[in-house]
Symmetry: C2
Subunit: 427 residues, 2 copies
Amino acid sequence: MDVLIKDALILTQDARREIVRGDILVQDGKISKIAKSIRADADEKIDAKGKLAFPGLVNAHTHIPMSLFRGYAEGMVLHDWLEKKIWPAEAKLKPRHIRAGSMLSILEMVRSGTTCFNEMYIAHMDEVCRAVLETGIRASVGHGLFDLVKKTDAKDELKNGTSLVEKWSGKSPLLNISMAPHAPYTCSEELILLAKGHARKKSLKFHMHISETRKEVFDSLREKGKRPVEYLHSLGVLDENTVLAHGSWVTKRESALAGKAGASISHNPVANLKLATGGICPLHEYLEAGANIALGTDGTASNNCHNMLETMKFAQLMQSHLYWDPLRVSIQNVWDFATMNGAKALGFNAGSIAPGKEADIVLADLRSSNLAPLHDARNLLFSMHPGNITDVLIAGKPILREGKFTELDEQKIIGEAQEAAEDLVSP
Amino acid sequence: MDVLIKDALILTQDARREIVRGDILVQDGKISKIAKSIRADADEKIDAKGKLAFPGLVNAHTHIPMSLFRGYAEGMVLHDWLEKKIWPAEAKLKPRHIRAGSMLSILEMVRSGTTCFNEMYIAHMDEVCRAVLETGIRASVGHGLFDLVKKTDAKDELKNGTSLVEKWSGKSPLLNISMAPHAPYTCSEELILLAKGHARKKSLKFHMHISETRKEVFDSLREKGKRPVEYLHSLGVLDENTVLAHGSWVTKRESALAGKAGASISHNPVANLKLATGGICPLHEYLEAGANIALGTDGTASNNCHNMLETMKFAQLMQSHLYWDPLRVSIQNVWDFATMNGAKALGFNAGSIAPGKEADIVLADLRSSNLAPLHDARNLLFSMHPGNITDVLIAGKPILREGKFTELDEQKIIGEAQEAAEDLVSP
């Protein structure tokens, strides 16, 4: 299917970060040409006059089935919230719940300009993969592994990850499967090494929580004599295929280790603030060290949304706040984190509107009172909201057109999510 | 005009903070009845099935004409930004620019659920008042006074404020005029006392910036031997009609002084973060001291939007972060700040959906992927965005219906704002 987008203001996120006016030709799911004016016989023409085109956003850390718990039992301390509310509800999770929450989250992501996400969750992950293929979104999906909590054998636990790989790897160019050991405090050393070994063998991404809370750092020092990132380094699992979620409570030595390895960091500012971890990821230090910084929302239970535009604003503002310096991390940096860096972290050739790239493209209506006047298009990030987004293409396929889903039945999915949520949290 | 809103889920913000399902009857601009089912001959019936009704949000500190500078010259240090960009552009401000920026901001506010705002700006304030009456929004407006910067006589400068009062006070129940000396470092003691004297004589609100930056506190200590809030206290200008914008860099003694006086604090978290002031308003201390806490966006140049939903989320999350305690300030607190407290700060009988209150009511579509599923309606705040807002009534008059302005020509206003902005920032 060929698509021709006409007359857009294009925030290209190309190598020169150019902002140009013109047309975009999409062929076979990829961007084939960008020019002032393109004449071509496309299957679909999209009039983008008065609209901003930007690369689809990449949510580099989330747990999408948890949208069923959005706004459930707020205002509790973490421990009570998990023990009394979330774990009892999660114990009831059946495939239909995972499906319902996943479909809901995908709708929300597309509506807010996200075309790709990095998923880790704990049960019935086949349903997440099915939802990815059914909706046409792009994703990296891993089964969260944790033998220490379950008190299972590392080799048995590993199978949850490897069987997902066997079943789904290579099924679609839209879907990558990752190995996803949950965290250093929930996984044995054996499991971490097995998971990374399998990831290396199969050229998979390796996705893990790290250094989210100060307690985690203290416990790690006490039990292992090393801080969490030092510990992963000592295991030899840091490399350019490793995606570390959070990485907030780190020393300069640790950010340097991550950077030297070329690892990706998924920073989740909203979740960190909401859970009151007290730690803000030192993006500048990771940048200087050469790490690949991406951004994520984390699950809706700790956010409570999948709005990457909001996360991008939080990310920039929290760095300004942290360093008392509004220039430490720029708006341009944040666009990079959420587009090209995110795509790189997850192993997709996307994140720029440039020839040869995957055609993951979002259009926002500039004729909106919160986006006017137009001075520099990249600065619109700080006032844009999901209501401004009109069109979303993923791999060249229009998923959202003029504010409507082309194929997905939005109200049906929302209704099914409501039913599934009530089923889980009813007494 | 009578309006009957049918079948809403109502976040009342009444004395008991009830959330109920039912109908709302609006008569003569006021809420007259709330019940399970109301039969009445209204001029307009609004079907609110599947929608959340909440009191219109109050933006307790802003500079609305500055929306023309939204996204202009980001990424500069404050001093350069003001001297090289904003002040030269502001020097060109003519009435038509003030009008264009005001109209644009009012559109944006209504679309994001704000029905009332607290304004201070520096020129052609008649145009702001005209925009308020023309659009039907509710506002408290003051002419920002500053004799020290202008090097004018205090009595002459005062006239900017008093003449606005003479011209516009009592013109409409939607419009209050305030006295608005800019800040303790831009106003002489004489001007502050004259302004407060006039405010007391005419029963007006008194709106002033305070303790926004650490530098301001240091300078105040050096020059006056007192911290900024102590200084205002010593002048006797703190009382229940005083609205202090920011109040971030304060001691416990100062928050206690503000609380004891019954003053209002307008906290502007996004602007504080963006300008990297390093100070976060200690809401919990103000709450304990008995101050009336409200929230504002500040001007779009330091935000860059008038999205109060976003500001509410930032406010709660930053307190969680500041105290490493997610329960220090609750979501319910934040709803209070942005509704009833804001209305109280500005002197309007609004901020609750309760009989006798001004009918400033917002409807949001719950059949949205980012608002499902429904557990506790107040928690929807953390995932709601302006795109969810479908209807806005101010003083009982529908300004926005099903996502469309009933009378205002949105595209014309956006076009005029673009022209005005280009006029101001062209070389």
